[in-house]
Symmetry: C2
Subunit: 110 residues, 2 copies
């Protein structure tokens, strides 16, 4: 969860699935970007914050969230379609992302 390259790849993954979900919700294509603070909050709510050292910045937590999301997809623990579907079913981004991380937490088995 602290691999910078993986976080950077994860950033492109999260932006893509989030944009797909928002496009589906609004009924028209759009590109969107998830704020780091939202990612960090969702990771915390999913109980995954505790897997990191206590003194890390919000930015580092957001990086860990991005790394974890794309790791779960690369390792086939989740599909792109189910990630989009979860994000799409929740009005608040933080709720959708929390559910996504709960699913990943369950599948990856920490």
């Amino acid at each position: 969860m602290t691999d910078h390259g993986l976080a950077s790849l994860g950033d492109t993954y999260i932006n893509f699935i989030y944009s797909l979900a928002m496009s589906e919700r609004s009924g028209k294509p759009l590109g969107a970007k998830v704020r780091g603070s939202i990612l960090a909050e969702a990771l915390k709510r999913a109980g995954l914050r505790e897997h990191m050292p206590s003194r890390v910045s919000k930015h580092a937590i957001a990086d860990a969230a991005e790394a974890l999301a794309v790791y779960a997809w690369l390792k086939k623990h989740v599909t792109l379609e189910e990630c989009v579907s979860i994000l799409c079913s929740n009005e608040e981004p933080v709720d959708g992302l929390t559910k996504l991380f709960l699913l990943i937490r369950d599948r990856v088995k920490f």
Copy 2:
């Protein structure tokens, strides 16, 4: 090819598949961004520039390239895996993207 929302969604798609391809090539995960000038050049080399009005900016051509790439994926003319594979097999980004647009041109049937 002139839908701004679709171009914006396409931007997240292109960055994701390009980052996956560069990760595969380098053997380690990384995030990357494709420059608009490269996208515009690839669209031109694939013979798709002619489908646009003659007096448009390079930025508008890059937008069209992004819109077209994600449109082809959304409509299932191409899979994410084959897009990544094409980009991955070419050392020069512009060559990989040109081949991608040639494939899309063939499949979408302009």
